[in-house]
């Protein structure tokens, strides 16, 4: 199952992306998360439901986000996600870690290129 392997590798990244999206727009439903990621990445990231919803459930199980049924502006029932306090803390540390890692990679790759 190569897809699954890829998903495992990307899981941490995906979690961070979802957390950040929820933090920016909360409360929002799953479809909005997917749309937002698609827009921000200029269509590079197109999450299907089989990736998105397990990810949301995982973050929920870990206590980083919580979900609540609510009405959309069109008066339809949807599940809205928002960040918990633990989720906010998590996002902060993950963000810092990501930035650090990215700058290391940046430096390393540029050095290699020279």
């Amino acid at each position: 199952m190569p897809n699954r392997d890829k998903a495992d590798v990307l899981q941490g990244t995906l979690d961070l992306m979802i957390l950040q999206t929820v933090a920016t727009l909360e409360p929002l439903h799953g479809y909005a998360v997917a749309r937002r990621l698609e827009q921000v990445s200029n269509g590079a990231i197109q999450l299907n439901m089989g990736t998105l919803y397990p990810g949301l459930l995982r973050l929920e199980q870990r206590g980083f986000i919580r979900a609540q049924w609510d009405r959309t502006e069109n008066n339809r029932r949807a599940r809205y996600y928002s960040l918990t306090a633990a989720g906010r803390r998590r996002l902060r540390t993950e963000k810092a870690e990501w930035t650090r890692m990215a700058s290391i990679m940046q430096t390393l790759l540029c050095e290699e290129a020279k």
Partner: protein, 887 residues
């Protein structure tokens, strides 16, 4: 980390609850939104749908995240297995019962192993408590010379505390307004209990220096003594008790679960003068037992080296002959637990091995059952494979069944072990606390047993079952010989393994049973039936001098003789089967002969002793009233003593020199070289020490010429004398209330006790072997029955071609016979290698006793033939027509 934990907990919960109520709705909402947006933006709806992904896959992915996959699979498999077992209750019951027996026996015996060797002793930090002894190269002395102890205590660097205790023969205890009782009272150094880390439950511990004369009239008592003798009275602490006539103040009561490291538990402790200042009454005394608590971090080896150096530095303090004894000794330090449990180690491990064999036999049997059953399930399995189940999936499914059976059997086994735990107490050495607990360690062992046997009996059949040829299996009744052949081979080897293991068990228990029987057939030389013995120890010594001792026993004998039902009554210093108090003596000399180096039992007896025990007098006369103090010293010697002391001469009327040991006022031993006794009679030999002891030479003296404070009453009744115990006790205590009669037992009970452990071990191993035999026979039967069914066609052809029933019978039984002989050959080889460990438990038979090996092999062959006879009979009744239609 807590986040991960939370996730797993929720997934675990999700595995069992399976709640994903809103999930479908949420996914559908996502799809609809995607479609709407596509419409709005004017792009193809299909593309949006593809991008969003399939509803089914997505919900499966969410479900997977919501639960723990393999656990869910396992639960599904177990549910399926349970259903399939329920459909075959007979199969399930047979498997579970035999597994319960196997696992139960293993759990029970492991409970004993755990209680004896694994469970820590009930002291704080028990690993640091060690037993210290001095041993020479060959013997097993378990005590220490006192000067050594004193020096060790002063100079050692590895012990937090080094304590000692001294055993006593017992003491007469008397509380105000109560009857006297004989108790085991030991002397301990004041820090003994502090060393163990146990404090009295009421009152206080000994204080340092409390062993000094003047302060040492205090005592600690055991909970049992407080409850039984003092009736748990609240004012026990502070009470004054008389111990052998000396007043002792009770300062504390030990807790009820306190474990004293001796089999014969003391109930009273006195602070002893053996302490660091090393007051040494006599160099010859070497009767302190030393226990110490190591400093944290100190090892047993360090402690040994430490004490050894101190012991070696003491050579100068010993005069000969003690110096050479001292030089031959070396220090041994071992954990207290090893010391206490060591004696039972081999017996317990032998039993552990036996039940291990039994479990293997059970597993082989259940594996056989599984194989038989998989015939019936071929089509089901083939169907599963055809539907796309992988082989590992099929193995997993079948394995779930065997694991479930293992678990069920294990559960029953634990119940069985719990029920029998109390009955197995006799396997534990008496020094180890007795209730055998089913603690987590034992339960864990049972769980491993269940799991292990589940895999053991389930794996091979499952793998074979999964390796089937689809085409032929799916055809109804298709001939799929190849795969059946592999199965038959496996079943045959399982049966052979069962037979081999069974033979080992049977030989082992056969050897033990034969030992037991040959022990019982030993001639004792005296008649133990209808005889009651009891011990009396007259105290205090200053009140009971020789004259009063004689007077007391005369009056006691007269009183007992007058009781109804008493045929003869006598006293003896050491009647047979009792614990030896006065050790046998060497150095006796027949007149005109050289002194013998062999030991001779010396027993002081009253006139009716030989009649009471029915020891035949071969020549001369019994003792008479006139053989008393002041008269000529006389003796009756046993046949072997006559041979030892006088060779071929007639000993009647000859004299024997018995150099009586006496202590001079300085505490030194002196031998009275003028103590010549005239032989007036020759008695038949007896086995003084019981069935397992050899015949020792004996010399009897009239007790009035050799008065002692300690004597045993020997009473022969006309019938079973145990009913007279109470009247005898009353009659003797009427003479002096302060002299308790103790150790009141019938000689038959003593005899039975002396072989009890042998009997119990033999019966237990025999029971294991018997159960194994039955299980193995069921296994053989199963294999033969299967083989006959498989060959129905062939047998039918044979019969059709004119084979007689006898030929068919011989063919099938012959097949069983080959199996039996193979199994027995392997089993004999195993037994020859293994029975050596039993050598120390055998009596009158060697570990390779031909008769046992041969008779058990023959019996096993016979049993196997019997087990294959039933299927063979069925084979002879196969009608040719039916048989030919069979396939």
């Amino acid at each position: 980390m807590t986040a991960r934990l939370r996730e797993w907990c929720l997934r675990l919960r999700g595995t069992f609850t399976n709640r994903h109520a809103g999930m479908e709705e949420e996914l559908r909402f996502h799809l609809e939104m995607a479609e709407e947006e596509a419409l709005r933006r004017g792009v193809p709806v299909r593309g949006a749908r593809v991008q969003a992904g399939g509803l089914a896959q997505a919900s499966e992915a969410v479900r997977e995240q919501g639960a723990i996959g393999w656990l869910g699979d396992l639960m599904r498999d177990s549910r399926h297995a349970a259903r399939s077992l329920k459909k075959n209750p007979l199969f399930a019951a047979a498997a579970i019962v035999s597994l319960a027996l196997g696992i139960g026996a293993n759990t029970a015996i492991f409970g004993v192993v755990n209680a004896a060797f694994l469970r820590p002793l009930p002291y704080p930090a028990p690993g640091r408590i060690v037993w210290v002894t001095e041993q020479d190269a060959r013997s097993h002395h378990s005590s220490v010379m006192m000067p050594e102890y004193a020096a060790w205590k002063l100079h050692n660097g590895s012990f937090e505390r080094l304590s000692a205790y001294q055993r006593a023969f017992g003491a007469n205890l008397l509380a105000p307004s109560q009857a006297a009782e004989r108790v085991q009272a030991d002397h301990v150094t004041p820090d003994f209990f502090a060393m163990l880390g146990v404090a009295p439950r009421i009152g206080r511990d000994f204080q340092p220096g409390e062993s000094e004369p003047g302060r040492n009239n205090v005592a600690l008592i055991a909970d049992s003594l407080w409850r039984n003798y003092l009736h748990a009275r609240a004012d026990a602490v502070g009470m004054s008790l008389l111990l052998d006539g000396a007043p002792k103040t009770v300062i504390g009561v030990m807790p009820p679960d306190f474990v004293y490291p001796e089999a014969d538990r003391a109930v009273l402790w006195l602070p002893d003068a053996v302490d660091a200042r090393g007051s040494v009454p006599s160099h010859s005394r070497r009767d302190v037992s030393v226990i110490g608590r190591l400093k944290p971090g100190a090892t047993v080896e360090q402690a040994r080296a430490d004490l050894e150096v101190i012991a070696r530095s003491m050579d100068g303090q010993y005069p000969e002959p003690f110096l050479s004894i001292h030089r031959a000794l070396s220090v041994r330090v071992r954990p207290l637990q090893d010391q206490l449990a060591g004696g039972s180690r081999i017996a317990i491990y032998v039993l552990m091995g036996a039940v291990g064999c039994m479990l293997l036999i059970v597993c082989a049997n259940v594996a056989n059952l599984f194989l038989a059953r998989s015939v019936a399930r071929e089509r089901e399995i083939a169907l599963r494979v055809a539907m796309g189940a992988s082989r590992s999936r099929v193995v997993r499914l079948l394995l779930a069944e065997s694991l479930l059976l293992g678990a069920a059997g294990g559960l029953q086994g634990i119940l069985l072990a719990r029920g029998t735990a109390s009955a197995l107490g006799f396997l534990l050495p008496e020094t180890i606390p007795h209730p055998i607990p089913l603690d987590p360690r034992v339960l864990g062992f049972a769980a491993i047993c269940s799991l292990g046997s589940g895999i053991l009996f389930g794996l091979a059949p499952s793998v074979i079952a999964s390796r089937l040829d689809l085409n032929s299996a799916l055809k109804e009744g298709g001939a799929h010989r190849l795969y059946r052949k592999g199965r038959l081979r496996l079943r045959g080897s399982l049966a052979i393994a069962q037979l081999a293991l069974c033979l080992v068990l049977l030989v082992g228990s056969g050897l033990l049973l034969r030992s037991f029987v040959s022990l019982l057939s030993v001639r004792l030389g005296f008649d133990a039936r209808n005889v009651l013995v009891a011990d009396i120890w007259l105290t205090p010594p200053n009140l009971y001098g020789p004259a009063r001792q004689i007077d007391f026993f005369r009056r006691a004998l007269a009183a007992v003789k007058a009781l109804p039902g008493v045929q003869f009554a006598a006293v003896a210093s050491e009647p047979p089967l009792g614990a030896s108090v006065i050790s046998p003596r060497a150095g006796l000399r027949g007149e005109g002969e050289a002194a013998t180096r062999d030991v001779v039992y010396i027993t002081a007896v009253s006139t009716d002793y030989f009649r009471a025990l029915r020891i035949p007098l071969l020549a001369g006369r019994p003792f008479q009233e006139s053989d008393r103090d002041g008269a000529r010293g006389v003796a009756i010697i046993s046949q072997s003593a006559a041979r030892l002391l006088f060779k071929d001469r007639n000993p009647m009327g000859q004299r024997v020199l018995y150099p009586k040991p006496e202590f001079d006022p300085g505490g030194k031993i002196r031998f009275d070289e003028t103590n010549w006794l005239t032989v007036v009679g020759i008695a038949a030999d007896i086995r003084h020490g019981g069935l397992e002891e050899p015949v020792w030479p004996e010399l009897y003296q009239p007790y009035e010429q050799e008065p002692m404070a300690q004597m045993n009453l020997v009473v022969r009744g006309y019938s079973d004398p145990s009913a007279m115990a109470r009247t005898i006790r009353q009659a003797v205590q009427a003479i002096d209330r302060e002299q308790p009669l103790f150790g009141l037992e019938t000689m038959e009970a003593l005899l039975s006790d002396s072989v009890a452990q042998r009997r119990q071990r033999a019966y237990l191993l025999g029971a294991f072997a018997f159960v194994s035999l039955i299980i193995a026979m069921v296994g053989v039967y199963g294999v033969m029955a299967y083989s006959v069914t498989r060959r129905t066609h062939e047998i039918g052809v044979r019969i059709a071609l004119g084979a007689k029933p006898g030929d068919v019978l011989a063919m099938v039984v012959g097949e069983g016979l080959v199996m039996a002989l193979t199994g027995i050959a392997i089993g004999l080889a195993l037994s020859l290698a293994l029975t050596r460990v039993l050598a120390s438990f055998l009596f009158g038979v060697g570990p390779r006793d031909l008769a046992t090996f041969a008779s058990i092999s023959v019996a096993l062959v016979a049993a196997t033939c019997l087990a294959s006879y039933v299927p063979a009979r069925r084979a002879t009744r196969v009608g040719p027509i039916r048989a030919l239609r069979h396939e």
